[in-house]
């Protein structure tokens, strides 16, 4: 599954400057120290932490995309940081569990 296909399973793309690469998996966490240690290259991060540090941590770990859950608002500085890093951003009104289930089904 490619990053762009996240749109077709119900996630709303809010930042589209990214390389449309193959997703290798997902990681769901709201603790950035945990994300830093465990998110792997090629994965999608599912979180409610919709702030700039999240983008930096995702980029450092090689994440392709971040899905912000619960309809958390995405501020311009977050969009800009993600565009600079080439990380796709998606938004959903689902909670982290449902978003994870959707992504897992799509990948398997």
């Amino acid at each position: 599954m490619k990053v762009s296909e996240l749109n077709s399973v119900g996630f709303c793309c809010v930042q589209n400057k990214f390389e449309d690469a193959e997703i290798t998996g997902g990681y769901t966490s709201d603790l950035l120290s945990d994300v830093m240690g465990n998110l792997k290259d090629g994965q999608v991060l599912i979180t409610i932490q919709a702030h700039k540090n999240t983008i930096a941590v995702a980029s450092l770990s090689g994440a392709l995309a971040v899905i912000f859950c619960h309809g958390r608002s995405v501020t311009p500085d977050v969009l800009e940081a993600a565009a600079d890093e080439g990380i796709a951003l998606f938004s959903t009104s689902d909670n982290q569990f449902d978003a994870t289930v959707t992504l897992a089904h799509s990948l398997r």
């Binding site: 603790l31 830093m36 240690g37 932490q49």
Partner: protein, 231 residues
Amino acid sequence: MKARVDFHIHSCLSPCATLEMSPRTIVARAKVAKLDCIALTDHGCAENLPAFHDACIEANMPCLYGLEATSSEEVHTLCLFDQLEPALEWGRIIYDSIQNFPNDPDRFGLQPIVTVDGDVTGFAEKLLFAATDISFFDLVPMALEAGALCIPSHIDREYLGAVSQLGFLPDLPYDAVEVVSKIPPNAKKWAIIQSSDAHQPDHIGRRFTRIETEHFTVPALRDAFKRHRKP
């Protein structure tokens, strides 16, 4: 006196702050904003406090020496001292307990340690906004024991505040709580402060607190915060 105070300001040492945030620039902007006392509170590191001290002395600006510690649950907490030495000692304890994750300046920003003249003497190596291994429930009593005023940061924000990270505001002996806009219902037993959380010069003083105090010492401010509580 009814003082205007801003106790949450980041210098260039914080990776998320702009490099213009030298101690002298901070003090100059604080004067423009007509602040009576300011605190420097970088993430997880106190190494720009000596330059801040010098900048405040030369400009006759009352100040507190602080930092913003990140607990293991990623709750941000202001720790404020009225003397430089204990603040530096506290800074070493916090820096040493940050998870060992090197800063990547291209992604997170530079973390320069500067002199009052703005000369760079080194860089903090660890990523300063990374979490420490100290739980919030231990951090608060440790900070108080070290002689600091202890104030959880931006408790009403959706991220990196006590309520967002822990689900509620624990009943601990804070001196005050910092609120950005909306006071959570269970926070009213503490004094409420507002501060700029400035990461760039024009943010300094954008929010501040008016407090009745004659001195900017830890005991005087602790008393002032007690009086500042809403009935």
